[in-house]
Symmetry: none
DNA sequence: AATGAATGAGTATTCATTCAT
DNA sequence: AATGAATGAATACTCATTCAT
């Protein structure tokens, strides 16, 4: 009984976690209601306390579960000997589409930022590090190989790339309202990504193009 | 008699607004407590309802009050005949330091984004437009004068610039934890701004510099 | 100054009383709001406390003021030597139209009944006595003259007449809904009154008619 | 298991309803306090909101519950072929003693009348109709059989009978004060009922009984 | 392992009343 | 005589959590 793939209890616990993740991501810790989570998980409220002890604790578990998603990310995009630019583009694309695909993650991370890590940040590993360790190395390599400018502060660059990807999703509603386009359509996603890549490599000044165009 | 500098009631209303802004910005709408606001404003809770009707309404007024801050911003930085780059740098600097100086604004806007404009976005003008109308025109002008690349999608550029400035503040805690420096110190602020400016104009690729160097 | 017809203060006091009467009559003591009364009287709330001391006290004054209206009633309808039936009809008509004309009175008296005289009945004279002292004597006289049945319990008759008139007004809404006619129109009022008179004198049995018809 | 006589929740819900009925009937919607109801029902206040949603809603349920009592009334008093007068007396007696036995009902209905059906009348069927459909038919039948006068407006008669019964209870306190007798004693109740019956059938004029044409 | 019912401490909101001028 | 601003105590309603089974 206990060694089925998923015991009944594992299943319940999971249902709670998924329902909670969804609701916390939409409403935040303070806005979420334990009753709503229970209803959405189709489970008795009491079970939440049985498995997780408290709302706060459940929230932390939801965070942990989401932060783990990052581990699945980006490792496979790095091809050791390859051109740093190629590697960077792959990493960037991988990160961008990860954010695009997982609204829940993006929102949870944002709530957490606003709550100044009331819970998550103290208990959990800093996810930014995880995210960008990879990209950090690529850039470092690119600088060493002379492909990227030597005067760059890698941390600033990482933060900037992070920003360029993230805000497209965190301010989606507002921007959507201004652009009146479906910002999550394939087209729009891809053009944002292209813009970001271009922006990261070229900036906005004209004379660049003279140099870069031919190599492009 | 009634038009003294500030009537007593104006003063009370203001105290409430300021206290509320501070608390809402820290805890969000759901996390804030009316009692805390009253205590912080050193006023009877009843007056909050007298002047604002409800917690929600008070929140909307706080948003309105904050969004208005943008109007005071950036207009004076634009010098008509000047070099678009100079104008852009000034606008960027002005926006960056506005965000740096007003944590409250940054946080309120972020809560609002997460709440998908539960209140603000319906009632209030889209603040992003206001913010960047200015910068938008500068870039447009820059493109026409051939200073900026003609193939730019201005909206994407605006969003990118917005992102590069904003995230430094919205993720301050997390980044601070990684960089272990006081991110709000004059030094750090200025180097972030320099990075952003440089990033916007030059991107990260090496060869640019070769072209740009002479003009630099 | 103080011996004008109505000093300013008298006027304010009156405005409060009238506004309060209207609001108490509509919403009852518990449902009425001091703020509403002040607003309706176009006076500062503080004045209510100045003149009346408390909401409860104001309510009592409103009751007193209304109960006094009864004094203006019915005395003039009684013609000493006249046929008791004529006198009774006149008294009945007078009472019925008094109720018809003064919804406020009817409602206040009804609230008071439901509140089991939480205030009014202990402080104020029993208005039923006042109302019907007159009619009581007429019936008494009618019995002595052999016009009315000798076996009547006058108190029961008075209560019955009172009921027949009153309920038409106290249940107006409900009845109106069933009858779908404007129950306060001249027509409807008069036919109710005629019914009551007829009912009081004749009851509903047929055989009466044999006797009465021809004389009619 | 779940269909025991009364599940625990049914029992709680019922306790709330009964306590609320009692308190609402005494104090009205505005005068009643949710805390009092909870205390009286010996239950946690929260359960009131769990089962009924709001004070107002609970009030409506109390009304519904009370209005339903009418359904249990009067049907069995009607004997098809019987003398209309007998049937009428039975119906009248049944209604009169129903009111006598259920102060709660009488008071709730009265509050509702004063509140002009703020809630009840919109949500619930018109109870007057229900009450008197029965009596209405009896009178109709009586008229057809020539027992009751043909010129009667049945609706007026119904309202009159209603009035004669009702006011004895709605103005109980005031009348009691005047009559100084226990108006709810068996004796007094029965004599009021006899008076009403007599009054309805005979009115107050003398000649009727003898069929006294000549004195007219 | 699971559940329906219950709870106490909180939380927004309202109200009659009073203060300062 | 009058007012605008302020207050404390209540009041309706909510929420995370626990009890009994």
């Amino acid at each position: 009984m206990s060694n089925k793939e998923f015991s009944r209890s594992e299943d319940s616990k999971n249902r709670i976690l998924l329902a909670a993740a969804e609701i916390f991501s939409h409403k935040g810790l303070d806005g979420a209601r334990v009753d709503d989570i229970a209803r959405s998980a189709e489970i008795n409220k009491r079970m939440i306390y049985h498995y997780f002890g408290s709302k706060e604790n459940l929230y932390v578990e939801v965070l942990r579960h989401n932060y783990n998603k990052i581990n699945d990310l980006g490792q496979e995009t790095y091809i050791p000997g390859d051109d740093p630019m190629e590697n960077a583009v792959r990493a960037l694309r991988s990160y961008f589409y990860f954010l695009a695909s997982d609204e829940q993650f993006v929102r949870l991370v944002s709530w957490e930022a606003l709550n100044r890590g009331r819970f998550g940040s103290k208990v959990l590993p800093q996810f930014l590090e995880l995210t960008q360790a990879n990209l950090g190395e690529i850039i470092h390599e690119g600088i060493e190989k002379g492909v990227f400018r030597a005067d760059l502060d890698i941390r600033q660059v990482l933060l900037s790339i992070h920003s360029l990807c993230l805000v497209y999703f965190t301010r989606r509603e507002l921007v959507q309202h201004m652009w009146s386009r479906d910002m999550m359509s394939e087209d729009m996603l891809e053009s944002r990504l292209q813009h970001v890549i271009d922006f990261v490599f070229n900036g906005i000044l004209t004379h660049r193009e003279d140099c870069v165009n031919d190599s492009n």
